[in-house]
Symmetry: D3
Amino acid sequence: MVHLTRKEHFNAAHRLYNPKWSDGENETVFGKCANKHFHGHNYNLYVTVKGEPDADTGLIVNLKELSIIIKSKVIDQLDHKNLNLEVDLLRGKIPSTENLAIAIWNELKPHIKGCTLHSIKLFETENNFAEYFGE
Amino acid sequence: MVHLTRKEHFNAAHRLYNPKWSDGENETVFGKCANKHFHGHNYNLYVTVKGEPDADTGLIVNLKELSIIIKSKVIDQLDHKNLNLEVDLLRGKIPSTENLAIAIWNELKPHIKGCTLHSIKLFETENNFAEYFGE
Amino acid sequence: MVHLTRKEHFNAAHRLYNPKWSDGENETVFGKCANKHFHGHNYNLYVTVKGEPDADTGLIVNLKELSIIIKSKVIDQLDHKNLNLEVDLLRGKIPSTENLAIAIWNELKPHIKGCTLHSIKLFETENNFAEYFGE
Amino acid sequence: MVHLTRKEHFNAAHRLYNPKWSDGENETVFGKCANKHFHGHNYNLYVTVKGEPDADTGLIVNLKELSIIIKSKVIDQLDHKNLNLEVDLLRGKIPSTENLAIAIWNELKPHIKGCTLHSIKLFETENNFAEYFGE
Amino acid sequence: MVHLTRKEHFNAAHRLYNPKWSDGENETVFGKCANKHFHGHNYNLYVTVKGEPDADTGLIVNLKELSIIIKSKVIDQLDHKNLNLEVDLLRGKIPSTENLAIAIWNELKPHIKGCTLHSIKLFETENNFAEYFGE
Amino acid sequence: MVHLTRKEHFNAAHRLYNPKWSDGENETVFGKCANKHFHGHNYNLYVTVKGEPDADTGLIVNLKELSIIIKSKVIDQLDHKNLNLEVDLLRGKIPSTENLAIAIWNELKPHIKGCTLHSIKLFETENNFAEYFGE
């Protein structure tokens, strides 16, 4: 069994904000990340699948096809978007890196065929990243 | 004469949008970068100064002091902010990487003492960056 | 359960040196890394915690608070220091990347509350790094 | 137990090509990666071993010695070579990143003494990499 | 005037080889880079243009359009190709990083409109790169 | 004329310290960088030469030979050394990044034959670097 990883990226705006709380409570908990006018990031997304290399191709999965799946199912929803206002896969969730990693897993999982989704690793910045393994 | 560079970073939301144009015109020119809900970036800023190393310190400028100047004059205005809505140094300007590099130069220039500001290099993403030399 | 990682960095001097051995034995085993005048590195430290995102915040841990803990408990002891001569958490240990990763784990572990410390990953250079999982 | 990783690199030419198939079939499956004149990559190889730091040295393994083993057993076979035409450890295999990671594991495994080989992580590009754990 | 840079990349095979020389002479001069079966690289290409930001758009050039020009005029010729055997812009030239940077300049120059091509910076590896300014 | 750059690296200890000043004055000016037990860095050195590619080789300079010159004349003096105590090319100078870039230029300059030394760019950390052009 080999793990194979594809990196994609997207740029998005967001704020950390719980609509059940007052602005003051949000600012106390999230600090400048709660700024009502939003801020944003260049997100780097690493999707790892695992499986046995096919005897005829040497591949676990065709990375070009995997890239197309990631782009059409996930990146197109997220790139140049506002994660709080207009992204279906985050509807009703606070767009933390943690929640976003889980949501990307759930969105991608049904579309990974012929190998197994192993992890979603999402960099919000060079200094902060989350990784989710599906449970 | 030696060039000395300090890297700082900030995260911000923006959109490319000319308020004199209709939404349709903006989308034609700027594509998804005009998204009305904004998107965002992790910006990396490289400030380069030049001068002769001081005989007693070996330094052109104390980088800790330069870092404090960049943070207090520029980063604090930009970090976790919306470049279209709430940043004084971009008031009335489209927040392109080009315009932002020029605006940072103009903001920093009066505060660089004892050496000469040489360039502002601003990465919007790993793939796109602007550099401004003051003229 | 999600893994969340925070990157910090510090710059330090060290040498690989066993005080129970002669200088010649140290040089035989450690080569130029045993240089008696020391050498140094820019260390990059990745602290990974794990847990379930809080329902109200979407966060496993507030990364700003985690960063403050890492800085106050670990970085302040190590940054711009000599790892052989003046760092309590390495007292009596050879400051190899391996030992330093373990020592950082032991120092941080009691201060991680509300989530679980998963790993300490420490880069001595781009080409060499150690990772410790607590056992 | 600590994991310790050493990074090495090599530059090589290859193509994805199954000699049992026609040129047309190869192009259908592998696209431009099947180009008969080859293309190439700067490969980055991360070799991870694990063990307990030695009480006298603080080291799991002397990284200089590990580097020499990786270079003499693996890099010298691969660097500035054509992975389809002249590399023994890939004889009869399609030089996919997956197969190459497995082949490097098999080549290195008998030479890792005093600690345990944990994983081979191989970057074909910044965006694509495979990781193999020996089973 | 602002400089604006766009990064693109391509993967290619090549060898350093002068067809006027014997194999022995080529190996003496170019060493393992002359390997007759080729080797290859992940090339990173930085195209820098300069001009004044347009008053209406804030842009020197639309980077999406610049990217399309670079890809259609240069990358499509080079990506997943053999630089010695099948690339028109290198016909009759030794595919050194230096020559490749010049050839890319010459190929792109006629297609840069509305701003000025400033430089071509080409990384063959992280450790080796060439930069050409058109004269 | 093309610019060609070779990257090398070294790890060293240093402190910012003017022996003509008291310890207190040094600490006032240099802060924690003056720590008497030293700290250290992973330095990245970029040496840029310029010239016209040779008609027969396509090269400005053989990068393997340039690398050997840089290593034998500069890196061997600096790697795994203490820049304050044991490095001839810094004798009598405060080992700031600025002074070190100038000293490397002066050391290398007489050994660059067949092309012209253009610049020395020296990274002390990812965030701080100096560049010297010989005047």
